[in-house]
């Protein structure tokens, strides 16, 4: 009996979403009187840091980045879940984690619950639904389940133990072959970002984006945008947050020149703190925000960037 948790390493660092999954798995194992085992996949990194979150056993697969895809990860998870007699498996909400979870659920005949925000309680579990517009409590009908947790909902829970890391090798292969990457690793990954600065049509033109980027830089924040901005090609698709873009829940979301349409709010409303800056005092975003400034972005942004720079020393 064990609780298996999938841990992703990116550029030698364990992803924040994975640490949250580790916290969830450790607590779940504790409640069930079972053992949490981390299956860590990725090049390099130090799996023993999982000990901080209560994980005593880790299996590390030192795979090259180009070997890692939804199919190879699923194969490794499946064979480890079988070896370990997994009754539960925990995944972050990353694309590759979702793929591995779905595959494991099929092969091991487990149930699967996505967008999970809390530990299961008496056979029920709470999850998000309708693109962050609601929650739903579901009754689990399968005794073995995969949990895909919603980013930044469960949080990190420290419970230090020593981690025994075992290095493993895999000959997992798939019909998918890597061709090339097109990456900009200088930027903060949006789904992992604790702080996000986002802008909409209020910025008027793509050449004004340096104002957003300067603010993001001072904060160490990720940058995002509204749908009209990505549709117009001002910013890349992967920066579009909202119901049909990506959904995020950072500790701080600063929305500049975004009116706050219901579809946009669906993707960001679970952010812990929201600041709205808009020239229109009637903008719906002010109803969803914690802090608001009615003002012109071109006036407010440089001042805010400067004030933050001073405050941060």
């Amino acid at each position: 009996m064990s609780v298996v948790v999938y841990i992703e390493i990116n550029d030698g660092i364990i992803k924040k979403g994975s640490l949250e999954a580790a916290s969830f798995a450790a607590k779940l194992a504790q409640e069930k009187g079972s053992k949490a085992v981390a299956v860590v996949i990725g090049k390099g990194g130090d799996a023993s840091v999982l000990g901080k979150y209560g994980i005593a056993d880790a299996l590390h697969y030192n795979l090259e980045e180009t070997q890692i895809n939804s199919l190879t990860v699923a194969q490794i998870l499946q064979s480890e879940a079988q070896n370990l007699g997994a009754t539960d498996a925990v995944f972050s909400g990353s694309w590759i984690a979702k793929a591995a979870a779905a595959s494991l659920a099929v092969h091991a005949q487990m149930g699967i619950v996505t967008e999970v925000t809390e530990l299961p309680k008496n056979g029920t579990i709470l999850k998000k639904a309708f693109s962050n517009k609601a929650f739903v409590k579901v009754e689990l009908q399968n005794s073995k389940n995969c949990y895909v947790i919603s980013a930044n909902s469960f949080g990190l829970h420290e419970n230090p133990v020593n981690t025994n890391v075992q290095e493993k090798t895999s000959n997992a292969s798939s019909g998918l072959s890597h061709v090339s990457y097109n990456k900009d690793t200088s930027k903060v990954s949006l789904t992992d970002a604790e702080l996000v600065v986002s802008a909409g049509r209020g910025l008027k033109a793509p050449e004004n984006w340096h104002l957003v980027e300067e603010l993001a830089k001072v904060l160490g924040a990720g940058t995002a945008c509204s749908k009209p901005v990505s549709d117009a090609g001002w910013r890349p698709h992967h920066e579009h947050v909202g119901q049909t873009g990506i959904s995020i829940s950072p500790n701080l979301y600063i929305a500049i020149g975004i009116s706050g349409a219901i579809q946009h709010l669906a993707g960001v409303s679970s952010s812990k703190n929201i600041v709205a800056i808009n020239s229109d005092p009637e903008a719906p975003f002010f109803k969803a925000a914690d802090y608001g400034i009615v003002g012109d972005a071109f006036d407010v942004l440089p001042k805010l960037t400067e004030a933050l720079r001073k405050a941060k020393g």
């Binding site: 779905a102 699967i112 990457y181 604790e194 702080l195 109803k287 969803a288 914690d290 006036d299």
Partner: protein
Amino acid sequence: MKILVCISSVPDTTTKISFVNDNKEFNSSGVQFIINPYDEFGLTKALKIKEQLGGTVTVIHVGPASNEPIIRKALAIGADSAVRIDGEAVDGLMVAHEIANYVKNNSFDLIFTGRESIDYNGGIVPHALSAILNIPAISPCVGLEISGNEAHLETFVDGGKEKLKTALPVIVGSQKGLVEESDLIIPNMRGIMLSRTKPLEVLAVQNNINNQKVAKYELPPDKKACKMIDAGNVEELVSLLQNEAKVI
């Protein structure tokens, strides 16, 4: 090229979500149901590929007869035929098993799903299909080119995109980027007339997969009133973020 497009029926993106029957049921009164927007990108790409390479486009939906308007819409947009599996969609696993069952009896070169549905956002269907059928899946897919028997696909990875290739068949979890919003097709009168005579096959549910049951829905707690700060006093915002919200 034989192409299958999986579509689901979801509340329109502007829907204000509410519940009835002691919060046990979604309040569908006055709600417009649409083809899941991610699925529509897949349908549009399927029709573009058919235009280039020839073939057929079949749409499949797991749901009750009351969802047929979205199937007819897909036919009006240009799909050749449709299949409806007559049952309530329980979750992504159940839907994937039903679709897989149909695929096993009718082989396809390309299978499109959405990267997720906008009602439950699981993102499970393409990968569960992949596991059941032992066909590779790429989701979310933001680029697809077919050359001969090979598919070149583009997906998101941390910090950017990755290009991959595989032999057909392949499962594609669609989203914007695969085609653009301006490529989406609004059905014309001829398409709507034709859709009424196109074949729609109704099949019974084959698997009895039932891993979860809805106990209760909840709406998120109401937001406290927004604290307004004067545009000339951004220092106050900085101080609130530092000392009250404690996020910077």
